[in-house]
Amino acid sequence: MKQGVIVVLCLGLLAIAVGMPLTRVSGQSGEIVMISYAGPSQEPHRFYLVEPFERARPGMKVRLVPDEAGEYVARVQAAVAAGRPSPVDLAPNGEPPHLRLIGLGLLERTNTDLVPNLKNVHQAFIEKGQGYGVPATYSLIGIAYNTKKVSKPPTSWKDLWDPAYRGKVGLTSASSNLGLGFLVATAKNNGGDEGNLDPAWQAIKQLAPFVIAPNPTALAQLFEREEIVIGPLWSTEAAVLASKGLPIKFVKPQPGAIAIVSFLSVIKGTQYMQQAHELLNGVLSVEYQTKAAAKPYFFGPTNVKVPVPQEAAEYIPTSLAEVRRLQTVNWPVVVPRRAAIVDRWNREFAR
């Protein structure tokens, strides 16, 4: 009898929980939730995007949430599936997750009429977005190394395989864009391509023993602790380490560093369509792009009107010839196989 009551109570509460349209607190207080980077890389968003926006629109608040592993996706997905407003309104995503989110139907199409600054953006970058988000910045994957421990500066991706660095090379799991980008580039540099990653698995196995960080932030920490002396890293992360006074240098290795565009997108289920588009426009503005391209952030500008500052030459290509040397990845081929690639990565290296 008692058990029956509990079961009924439980089912009733479940029904309430499922049926109840949970109103979001932030929706009432005029707060936009925007995913951002962790640490100092977040500063351009805060100082040159959010603060000007909040000044222009009193009453609106933008909360920046650091999230580098895409942890918010699962939350958005759960909310959208339950028909609730999204807990996140905007998010920056590198190309791989951008394509994945389009596939999952979690992004809003960009209303180009509301983003006049798009006319100043490289057409090739806009096309990569497939109609979603705006190409906010781009970063490079190159080689970072400790100048005190590495006597011969690396010039080519092959230099990672130098026996002198055995056990001191740091890689990132393929579950991150950094790891995935490096994996694909390694395939291409060894005779494979996006559809044939086998040469990469072979080559990376030969790098052993190496250290695997779960994410780029952890890899940067390993550089700081001198646990590793060389490894593939984001130009922006390397710049932050160098700005802290660490002996870290970044090179764009032969046959080319890998460029990955980061799209800022409006998330499905936002209640702030208009305001979110204003932020998309803001991130493409000359003001934002100039600041983000400057020391110590060095985010590659997508706005053609923004010149790359000379001090950024180490991290961002400055000439057209240099831009041409960048490697890009045909992400639409790779992204659908991402779960299988990460699974293989774990089976090979996380045993």
Binding site: I6, L9, A74, S175, I212, E227
Partner: protein, 273 residues
């Protein structure tokens, strides 16, 4: 009664849902209606890779439990043997690990264990005990060191409780009958403190076996344990099915091991009845 309702709504129902997520197909964040299947469980259970990861997760929990017992018991014993002032100092020291967040403490361990500049290696190198810096961060040893420190209070406190409950006259009786200190300790004190040891061990094992933060930060990308895999499946890959299966299996194995442990404990403690 309100507590039961609370538990049902916020614990039992979510756990059932979690279990159920492993039994249906979830595509693009949506349940595929009527797609009941055992395929997801079969895939994980039939895969020797996951079996190995479960074994490593077990050793992580087991290792932390044994180390906590080795380091915790003397502290607990000391606590019951000193005066009030010393007790207060000891209590603060024992509880100190609980005063900061596990993430912060683990970052502290990264600084101590990490790299040739890390405190541990610096000291060892200076003392000439090692020639080359030891590689501890991102290994099982590193994880166990961090885990032991963080879980120690959960071992020490139940043992203190058990030791405090002992009738001191038993120790005196043993001494009076000619037992040495060691004989008294191993034949009287330790057996009588077994209930505390066993409950402390169960607590430490379960917390360590399911711990995420410590293996994620101190184990790194090549130290896969089930909790880090669950995180990766759900957060990075949005594979709700695999995540739910692994989470259910982690919980299920933890419960089974606890039950077995309880049964074994009951045998060991038959004399207390």
């Amino acid at each position: 009664m309100p507590a039961v309702g609370y538990l049902v709504v916020f614990l039992a129902v979510p756990l059932l849902l979690l279990f159920a997520f492993g039994l249906v197909d979830i595509r693009d964040g949506r349940l595929v209606p009527g797609s009941w299947t055992l395929e997801h469980y079969a895939r994980v259970l039939g895969d020797p890779f996951y079996y190995r990861i479960f074994v490593r997760t077990f050793w992580m929990g087991f290792g932390a439990t044994v180390l906590c017992l080795i380091f915790g018991y003397p502290v607990a014993y000391l606590f019951t043997r000193v005066g009030t002032a010393a007790r207060q100092v000891l209590l603060v020291l024992i509880l100190a690990p609980l005063l900061t967040n596990a993430v912060v403490r683990t970052f502290g361990w990264m600084i101590i264990l990490g790299g040739p500049k890390g405190l541990l290696n610096a000291v060892l190198l200076r003392l000439g005990l090692v020639e080359e810096p030891l590689k501890i961060l991102y290994t099982m040893s590193g994880v166990l060191i961090g885990m032991t420190q963080i879980q120690l209070p959960f071992m020490i406190l139940p043992i203190i409780a058990a030791l405090e409950g002992q009738d001191r006259s038993l120790h005196e009786a043993a001494a009076g009958l000619g037992a040495t200190w060691a004989q008294t300790f191993f034949h009287v004190v330790v057996p009588l403190s077994l209930p505390g040891v066993l409950s402390g061990s169960a607590l430490v094992f379960v917390i360590s076996y399911t711990s995420f933060v410590i293996p994620a930060l101190l184990g790194g990308g090549s130290f896969g344990v089930i909790p880090t895999f669950i995180f990766e499946q759900i957060s990075a890959l949005v594979q709700w099915n695999s995540g739910a299966v692994l989470a259910s299996l982690l919980m299920g194995t933890a419960i089974v091991m606890l039950l077995l442990f309880n049964r074994a404990s009951a045998r060991l403690l038959r004399w207390t009845r």
